[in-house]
Symmetry: C2
Subunit: 474 residues, 2 copies
């Protein structure tokens, strides 16, 4: 960590994420754009939402994560160091909010082929986030790791998530066979301090444990031990990550027309004007999984049937993950020529961590010689500009987040920015952004099918389902 | 290859992909569903589209790819064998249609951690598809391969794709430094036989070349050398892949109400009833990138401003990629409780290539003991059933593709199924599914910014753009 960063205001300001929404406005994209009148209409709700965010801050425990207890940070760093020195691999067993943050931050800040690097280049343990229960995937995991030399971090807030607990049972069996009674030294539990089975198991077997604060939901948990331990194990500077989040918090608190509130408000206006799709399109491979993390945050927080007054609203933009420049060759045809039903958010990186010059080769071929001497960095930048220009010219809404660099400080800002923007959009929509009642039905059916005790009525309900009509199966 | 498969009709029929659309219908999902009247209204267009598909078959050259020249197949197999015996890695440089098919087929049919496996387990060369120009990504590629021991397959139909040709210039420089004048033996070109620069370069330097048939567009090219060579190098049985595609062709030709036409027609009806989103959600990690391949096919083919009568239609469903069970913890809240604006297509696998039993561990914890003794396979199956049930019960449209197994024969079927379904949807929508005029504007701007000859007027246009208003950048 470079201590200078905490005192050098110029450096911080140079790293400030900017949100450019010129191309959300009718004056720039034409009739599908947001007008002065749209903004005037939103104003009373905006004012109310600002007030709500202020009043509810205490209940939004995730908002205080940037300012965590120094002892906890120290403990995480010590544990990470111990793992780095004693293990070859680190595996996260978790799903949803327990997986998407660790994947996004790791991909952003480490080598893009981290696990394939020679150990000398990589330095820190191999890293896996296992967020599915596909039997082919778990078999393949055991083909590339040695469980004896691997630390397994089981992450579930509730302590009962069936996918994660199934993985916990499998790994307990594997480790007992490999290590006998000492199996628990290859396990770390990250869970609620009081609720669920994982905390009880951890306490019975003496498994090292980190707590997920009770007021922090899965999709808002990346800046607690859920994300901090995996990041630290991979060599990421977690204090910089938190400093970035704190910096974004200070930006947000300093003005009502801050980037997060503006993103939330413009998204809601666009949504209510018929844009039911939100495309997140970073122009950097390192940020690819930020789009996945955002997709959960946005979908699960804002996709709600009921508003706070119990009125049916069937609310929510559908997030779409895209990657520049790659998806110019897949999605841009649709984005420029298709319906006026989406907002594209580009994420631009001003300075990559590498620069590659296209060499002066094959110059005799005039139709490609224009590339020679340019850098790939310039090519990406020109293509992003071209795509933004084409989408705007065709009258489709778009905006842009600009990162000077991808580093722990800017990623911390970015995460916190999206979290607050999402919460703010929830206030504007008058919905509860922090629950997920819609996932219960499917879970209960699965429990019933597995003959879990207490789900006998649901099983009866399933037995009465009309069978599929074969004439509609081709 | 198991020759039995070509004669054993029972085996083939057992491997037949089924398309279940019960939950597209109002009788099963309620008021958002498709009614008898919707289907009656569609009938004349359906009949016309069937006729068009018949009349245009000759111009749709990709439809004949399952029946390719045996000499070509033999040549590809020989080349693959030579590469397997003489190289440690195989790198595809391509983007869009030159990348998504190779990635999807490789992921479907090989180990999920193929590159990380010990060479003895993997047997065939490491495999990389480089479909972006991010400088950090290309640097990391050279950290994990030895160019001298790597075969590079440069794929571009036009022979001019700037991203791919930039990669071609970079690799030419690297290989010349490593191998001197023999650099071209580590290169294979896959491109149009007559047009573009790549074919000229290949001929000047004696680079081994495969042709992309002139009537086969990028997104319909997986079953030509674009996809067949990479698949063969990774040990995939390409004749099985083609046999599967041919089998699907026979199914399609045997009835007008075949699965591909039904998928196309129901998608169009749903789209015209307001479902502007198409979610592709396989319940298997191996099929994850089939969703990416589909996303290009569907978006680029059907996302069109003009119909065949030059009327502005701003047409096209936006594809969304999801993965079961993972995204139950990310997207299902929205899919069950959000708007009636999407069709979810599940892809179900009846038999995985592995079975993993959840061991009888920690049985003292009653809330998780219901898992013990079940397989992960059963857990996935129960969760898919639960999710399908919950989404249907909440009144949202969904359908399901069912694969008995994931193997080269079923993947061949699946690819051909989607290609025909897409073409058929294009006929129903009266649009040209085979062009992509909307990508030109962005490309031209990028060329202008890179000072390419012939784009001086575009550069002037750019110089007259109103600068961004700083007040809309937060």
């Amino acid at each position: 960590m470079n201590d200078k960063r905490y005192i050098d205001v110029d450096w911080k300001n140079g790293m400030r994420i900017r949100f450019d929404y010129n191309n959300m406005l009718a004056e720039n994209v034409g009739s599908a754009g947001i007008t002065e009148a749209d903004i005037m209409n939103m104003r009373p709700r905006f004012t109310k939402a600002v007030e709500n965010m202020r009043n509810k801050r205490k209940s939004m425990e995730w908002r205080e994560l940037p300012y965590q207890n120094k002892d906890l940070i120290e403990d995480i760093k010590q544990t990470a160091k111990y793992i780095q020195e004693n293990y070859d691999a680190f595996v996260v067993f978790g799903i949803g909010g327990s997986a998407l943050g660790p994947i996004a931050v790791h991909t952003a800040l480490n080598n893009l082929r981290y696990n394939e690097l020679d150990k000398q280049l990589r330095k820190t343990p191999k890293f896996y986030v296992e967020d599915n229960i596909d039997p082919e995937r778990i078999r393949s995991l055991f083909q590339v790791i040695d469980p004896k030399r691997t630390m397994f971090n089981v992450i579930t807030k509730s302590g009962n998530t069936p996918e994660t607990m199934a993985q916990m049972l499998i790994i307990t069996d594997v480790l007992k066979k490999a290590l006998g009674s000492g199996f628990s030294k290859n396990l770390i539990a990250t869970t609620d301090e009081l609720k669920g089975n994982l905390i009880k198991i951890a306490s019975e077997y003496g498994i090292k444990t980190y707590y997920i604060p009770s007021g922090v939901g899965g999709r808002f948990s990346e800046l607690c031990p859920v994300g901090l331990l995996p990041a630290a194990v991979c060599g990421i500077d977690i204090e910089e990550l938190l400093a970035g989040a704190a910096y974004m918090d200070s930006i947000i608190e300093s003005s009502d027309s801050n980037p997060a509130y503006m993103f939330g408000a413009l998204s809601v206006i666009a949504y209510e004007k018929g844009n039911n799709i939100s495309v997140m399109m970073p122009y950097a491979d390192s940020l690819k999984y930020i789009a996945d993390w955002y997709a959960q945050l946005w979908a699960e927080s804002l996709g709600k049937r009921l508003d706070n007054d119990n009125k049916q609203v069937f609310c929510g933009q559908t997030p779409v993950k895209a990657l520049g420049v790659t998806d110019q060759h897949s999605q841009i045809q649709l984005y420029t020529e298709g319906g006026f039903d989406k907002v594209v958010t580009f994420i631009k990186v001003d300075r990559f961590r590498e620069e590659v010059t296209i060499p002066h080769e094959l110059k005799q071929y005039e139709d490609i010689s224009y590339l020679c001497g340019h850098t790939l960095n310039e090519l990406i930048s020109a293509e992003l500009f071209g795509t933004e220009y084409a989408i705007s010219k065709s009258g489709h809404l778009n905006n842009m987040l600009i990162l000077s660099e991808v580093n722990a400080f800017t990623i911390g800002q970015l995460l916190y920015f999206f979290e607050v923007a999402t919460a703010f959009a929830g206030e504007l929509l008058n919905i509860n952004a922090f629950d997920q009642p819609g996932v219960e039905e499917g879970k209960n059916v699965a429990y019933a099918l597995l003959n879990r005790k207490g789900y006998e009525d649901k099983l009866k309900e399933l037995q009465s389902i009309k069978p599929k009509d074969e004439k509609y199966i081709k």
